[in-house]
């Protein structure tokens, strides 16, 4: 097992109203088998022993599927490795002497709550406004009663892979939430189950997205580059089509 020594520069902020600043910490003997969050755990243990406030950061499943974790490491959301969340980023990606600058996701729509914790409830409100399907309750429907071509099912699954971590917003030069919203609209619009609210959904979710203070998409592709689930901007093109169809007929 090899170990590395690191210098960390972490954004510390008491609450959403206070001004934050960077604090520098040194961490020695970090196992390269550790995940990034485990490294932060070690730091917090060290800070607690020294009688200091530990660094607040979001995390839950720690296996890359819940979308809770996420910080900007050296300017890149979820760190240098492609298609992984912060919890699945391992310390073997770094070497002794590395200086890591760790910042929270920054966007107007994501206020910082504390240190690396941000309030991503704007995403929840986008989902609330239209990210659902109406179903008739009753007995469980038989399997395969609605035939769906496997290609379509795959596309819908690709869109549904979005875990809503917010890295797209954090990396977008305009703080736009188009990749997130387009993935959520796509996963339902592609399937027959989501067809009935299709137009209403596109209109409502885009309206909420704009209202929440996200920026305008300039087709910069930064979102796609950092997405831990490799959501394609093809979904954004689909959202544009969905929205245009909806506004011209039901807007």
């Amino acid at each position: 097992m090899s170990t590395i020594d690191l210098t960390l520069q972490i954004w510390r902020q008491k609450n959403s109203d206070s001004l934050g600043n960077f604090e520098t910490y040194t961490l020695n003997g970090i196992s390269t088998d550790m995940s990034f969050l485990e490294m932060l755990d070690v730091l917090n243990e060290q800070l607690t022993k020294e009688g200091k406030e530990p660094v607040a950061f979001d995390h839950d499943c720690r296996e890359g599927i819940c979308g809770q974790c996420g910080s900007v490491v050296n300017g890149v959301a979820h760190g240098p490795e492609k298609e992984v969340t912060l919890c699945q980023l391992h310390m073997r990606n770094f070497k002794t002497g590395d200086k890591l600058v760790i910042e929270p996701f920054r966007s107007r729509a994501f206020p910082i709550k504390r240190d690396l914790l941000v309030d991503r409830s704007a995403f929840d409100r986008i989902i609330q406004s239209g990210g659902y399907v109406s179903v008739n309750t009753g007995g469980v429907p038989d399997g395969n009663t609605i035939p769906i071509p496997s290609q379509v099912a795959e596309l819908a699954m690709d869109a549904a892979a979005c875990i809503g971590c917010g890295a797209c917003v954090a990396s977008c030069p305009n703080g736009a939430a188009m990749l997130f919203t387009s993935a959520k609209v796509s996963q339902l619009a592609l399937l027959p189950q989501g067809d009935s609210e299709r137009k209403k959904r596109a209109l409502a979710m885009v309206e909420t997205m704009d209202k929440e203070g996200f920026g305008n998409c300039t087709n910069h592709k930064a979102c796609e580059a950092v997405c831990p689930k490799a959501i394609s901007i093809r979904n954004i093109a689909r959202l544009n089509r969905e929205y245009a169809k909806a506004i011209f007929t039901e807007g």
Partner: protein, 217 residues
């Protein structure tokens, strides 16, 4: 009012940008073929200009429509630019290029290349559309481009146009929802070819006169 809602939404504004952008590219196509007459002879070019101006109604309708399209493109573009600046005020201590693509410079500089093209357009219109009426346009072209700085300014304008289109063309199709694995390769190629075509065809004209190739024009 659905159209007001459309204009207010972020996607609606993008559609206006894409539609006006497409119309402006189509206008450039007609413009570039007209200008192509310069390479044939001064007579051919003057003939084209005279034929065009023998239809004052057509010229008038086209000019007004173009003015509306350009105003829409510039105004909505500026609104988007200001709105996005408001959002992106707080950025990161470490700035890295996340998008490792050649044309990401074009994407980043869209508002600036656009504004430079607008400046170019104002100079171009004051030089040609509202130029001297007693000199035939075929003479006037040669006269203006014999000035070194005027020629260089035009070359810079066309370079800005090529840069603008090298993101704009792809971005327009993406906004229209044209993104499919089967066509993305073709779209990628066109995004290089279209700006390059306009760069060569337009920038060739000042170069034609500046290098002395057009001495017998």
């Amino acid at each position: 009012m659905w159209f007001i809602n459309f204009l207010k939404s972020s996607i609606g504004k993008k559609y206006i940008m894409a539609t006006s952008g497409l119309l402006l590219v189509l206008f450039l196509c007609t413009h570039v073929f007209g200008n192509g007459a310069i390479y044939i002879s001064s007579k051919a070019f003057q003939g084209y200009a005279d034929a065009l101006h023998s239809l004052p109604m057509l010229v008038f309708i086209f000019s007004i429509s173009l003015l509306v399209i350009i105003l829409a493109h510039v105004c909505i573009g500026l609104i988007l630019f200001w709105q996005n600046r408001e959002v992106s005020k707080s950025r990161y201590a470490v700035e890295v290029d996340i998008v490792q693509e050649k044309n990401s410079i074009a994407a980043k500089t869209m508002p600036y290349s656009g504004l430079f093209i607008l400046l170019f357009l104002l100079v171009h219109i004051s030089g040609f559309t509202f130029g001297p009426e007693d000199v035939p346009v075929s003479e006037h072209v040669k006269e203006l481009f014999s000035g070194f700085f005027y020629g260089v300014f035009y070359l810079a304008g066309f370079a800005a146009l090529a840069l603008h289109l090298s993101h704009g063309f792809w971005s327009m199709l993406q906004t229209f929802g044209v993104n499919h694995p089967r066509f993305n390769c073709l779209i990628g190629t066109l995004t290089y070819i279209v700006p390059l075509f306009f760069l060569i065809a337009f920038a060739g004209i000042p170069l034609y006169f500046m290098t002395g190739l057009g001495a017998n024009y």
